[in-house]
């Protein structure tokens, strides 16, 4: 019996040792008072773990083949990229918060929208950090609304803008000579080509964005939604037009609207197999790498509606319990440098829009920016800029998910 007791005791001691708090928050608060040079010193020869969505090969190659070697050379920082879905690492952080684990494993997260709102409300982020980052101060237009607000949530310096994307539709120019210019024309086209169009369910980020465009149109413009903030009563009355439109096109959709692709990947697969003739997505340049890999046909082109396309900024943040906050700040600052952002803009890897203000760049960098050819499937910058629409309160995302199921799917 004594033996048994001893064994039990040792196991409990082992288990409880796992959750011993390491009180280091005081020294980290001081980190924000330090000079940038000191932070850079502290970051030297450390390891930084970045947790980010890993579903795009172009993005992964950019991080592994371009960013990681440069960071190593310049700062001696070893960058480890860990692919994981945003909601999963947020869950991990929330668990760690609940367990009062002061030393986590994540140094940087890639985040925006609802996830940022959740993280901010649950105090999962370290900061404010942006006023410490030299490249943020130098190159970013801190007054613009899509830097100050992330889906309507005030950023408060807790995350640094990494890139900007804009919603576009993609189509096969060999099959469609003249893409529709408005929602009305799209309806017409869908009816003429039954089964050739569909959109992902609104639980998917892209599917939801497609519906938000329609919602903007239905309520009479994004300004109306921005002015009022989240107002379900107002939208409920105004959204009738939207539901009518969706129900009207439903019988002419892929599988007669009885089911919808559950993710953008699924819609992309249907498009690449020619089952549908259009796909869509946040990121005006995302077709380029897919064409290069032979997944999309070479004749893939993009278009936006005359009523506009929603633009979106995405961000980088540091978790409250990052074990290497100095390294994380130096890495984020590096990712915001003109060099890194220009490379990201090139279609070689990612082809995504810069978060920097082009007018703040040096002449040399501006010239380099103008010389980049983004590829045939990407719309010219001035057209994209002219049609840019803002994001509205993230609660509309949930509102659409819920009501779409009632208004569209369950109505036979």
């Amino acid at each position: 019996m004594k033996q048994l007791f001893a064994l039990l005791l040792s196991i409990f001691i082992f288990l409880s040792a796992c959750s011993t708090k390491e009180l280091s928050s005081a020294s980290e608060a001081k980190l924000l008072d330090k000079k940038w040079g000191q932070i850079e010193q502290e970051a030297k020869n450390t390891k930084v773990r970045i947790f980010m969505w890993g579903g795009d090969e172009g993005i992964n190659h950019y991080m592994d083949e371009w960013v990681a070697p440069k960071l190593k050379k310049q700062y001696g920082i070893t960058l480890e990229r860990i692919p994981m879905d945003t909601h999963e690492f947020l869950q991990k952080l929330l668990n760690e918060k609940k367990a009062e684990k002061e030393k986590g494993t994540i140094d940087i997260i890639w985040i925006n929208g609802e996830n940022f709102k959740n993280a901010k409300e649950n105090d999962l982020l370290f900061g404010p950090i942006t006023n410490k980052l030299p490249n943020f101060q130098k190159y970013i237009d801190a007054h613009s609304l899509n830097i100050q607000y992330d889906f309507g949530t005030a950023v408060d310096g807790l995350e640094a803008p990494w890139g900007k994307v804009q919603f576009v539709f993609l189509y096969d120019a060999n099959k469609i000579s003249q893409p529709p210019r408005t929602f009305a024309e799209l309806k017409h086209w869908i009816k003429e080509h039954p089964g050739k169009f569909t959109y992902p369910e609104p639980t998917d980020f892209t599917g939801n964005a497609f519906l938000r465009h329609l919602l903007y149109e239905s309520v009479g413009g994004s300004e109306k939604l921005l002015e009022r903030g989240y107002d379900p009563q107002f939208v409920k009355n105004k959204a009738e037009k939207m539901w009518t439109y969706l129900n009207e096109i439903k019988p002419y959709l892929w599988h007669r609207g009885e089911t919808y692709p559950n993710s953008l990947t699924e819609l992309d697969r249907l498009y690449s197999q020619g089952e549908v003739w259009m796909t869509m997505g946040y990121n005006e340049a995302r077709a380029e790498s897919l064409i290069k890999n032979g997944i999309f046909p070479k004749s893939t082109r993009s278009f936006v509606f005359e009523s506009g396309s929603i633009g979106n900024t995405h961000f980088l943040a540091i978790p409250f319990n990052s074990p290497n906050k100095a390294g994380a700040m130096v890495t984020i600052n590096f990712l915001l440098s003109p060099k890194a952002q220009l490379e990201k803009f090139r279609p070689t890897y990612w082809g995504e829009g810069m978060s920097l203000d082009p007018s703040k760049l040096s002449e040399q960098d501006q010239q380099a920016l103008n010389e980049i050819n983004r590829g045939k499937s990407v719309l010219p910058t001035d057209i994209l800029k002219k049609h840019l629409l803002p994001e509205v309160d993230p609660r509309y995302v949930g509102w659409l998910k819920e009501n779409w199921l009632h208004e569209i799917v369950r109505k036979k």
Partner: protein
């Protein structure tokens, strides 16, 4: 109770404690999340879940898919086993029924997409032969609202498992009894009813419960092959759990615990009803 002898206990202790600590802690946290609202005890989430018609639709859909798939897997598995145990000596057959078990469910599901979607392999085949004139004339088997694609996948995948469970039982069967029935003028059906059925029934029920509960709570196949509405229960719960609005989380816990409780009660009912019976039957057969 030799199991709790002093020396054996020590060997069992570490895995026992780990299981209790990890799984037990998870379950307890889930239960606690599902019955607390603002730190007060409440069953509101369970009430909410069962008043939610999306959940009810999903539950009906999942139960019917699980039931139909289990029934066909058991039925086909039984037929094949009866045929197979006579040809047991042929090792090649053993390999054939092992093959589907080697692939994970996800791979199997994706193969279904490649074969049976409207631009899939079979669709192109009949299109090229000229049976259909447009790819979308091919019947909708994948992502259909009746879950046909899901059912086919599970039947293909679980039948080998049923065979695996049944074959040893058939080998232990007292074959002299079958001969007795035949010499007394019994048909094949009589052999099955009087000799085989009582012997394999407990195993059949056990296997059914395993297969049924597995399908009821599975995720990857319905994710690939399912439809937008209704969704299978695990997909719905996953959505509640991981969607942007975290206020649905207790509801997700409540829903999943209800399913767990349902499976658990089937298991309890089975144990109390059949274990005794099985014991008697084994005795009756002279093989204690």
């Amino acid at each position: 109770m030799k199991l709790f002898g002093k020396s054996n206990l020590l060997f069992l202790l570490p895995p026992f404690i780990l299981t209790i600590a990890l799984v037990g802690y998870g379950v307890i946290m889930a239960i606690s999340e599902s019955i607390h609202k603002n730190e007060q005890l409440t069953f509101q989430y369970y009430v909410d879940v069962f008043a939610n018609d999306i959940f009810i639709a999903s539950l009906n859909y999942s139960l019917s898919i699980a039931f139909v798939s289990t029934f066909f897997s058991i039925f086909i598995g039984l037929l094949i086993t009866r045929w197979l145990y006579r040809c047991w000596k042929n090792d090649f057959l053993k390999i054939v029924y092992w093959i589907p078990m080697l692939f994970p469910h996800f791979v199997w599901g994706y193969m279904m997409v490649l074969l049976f979607s409207q631009t899939g392999w079979f669709s192109s085949l009949v299109y090229n032969i000229g049976i259909i004139h447009k790819p979308n004339e091919f019947p909708v088997i994948i992502n259909d609202s009746h879950g046909i694609g899901i059912i086919i996948t599970y039947v293909l995948k679980e039948t080998p498992f049923v065979i695996l469970m049944l074959l040893p039982a058939y080998h232990q069967l007292n074959h002299q009894l079958s001969s007795v029935v035949r010499t007394l003028g019994g048909k094949e059906w009589d052999v099955f009813k009087t000799v085989e059925w009582p012997w394999i029934m407990p195993i059949l029920f056990e296997t059914s419960i395993i297969v049924f509960s597995f399908i009821l709570s599975a995720y990857e196949v319905p994710y690939l092959l399912g439809t937008t509405y209704p969704k299978m229960i695990s997909l719905l719960v996953y959505e509640w759990f991981f969607e942007g609005d975290w206020s649905n989380r207790p509801k997700a816990f409540a829903a999943m615990l209800s399913v767990t409780m349902f499976i658990f009660s089937i298991m309890m009912a089975y144990t109390s009803l059949l274990i005794k019976k099985r014991y008697h039957m084994m005795k009756g057969n002279g093989k204690v």
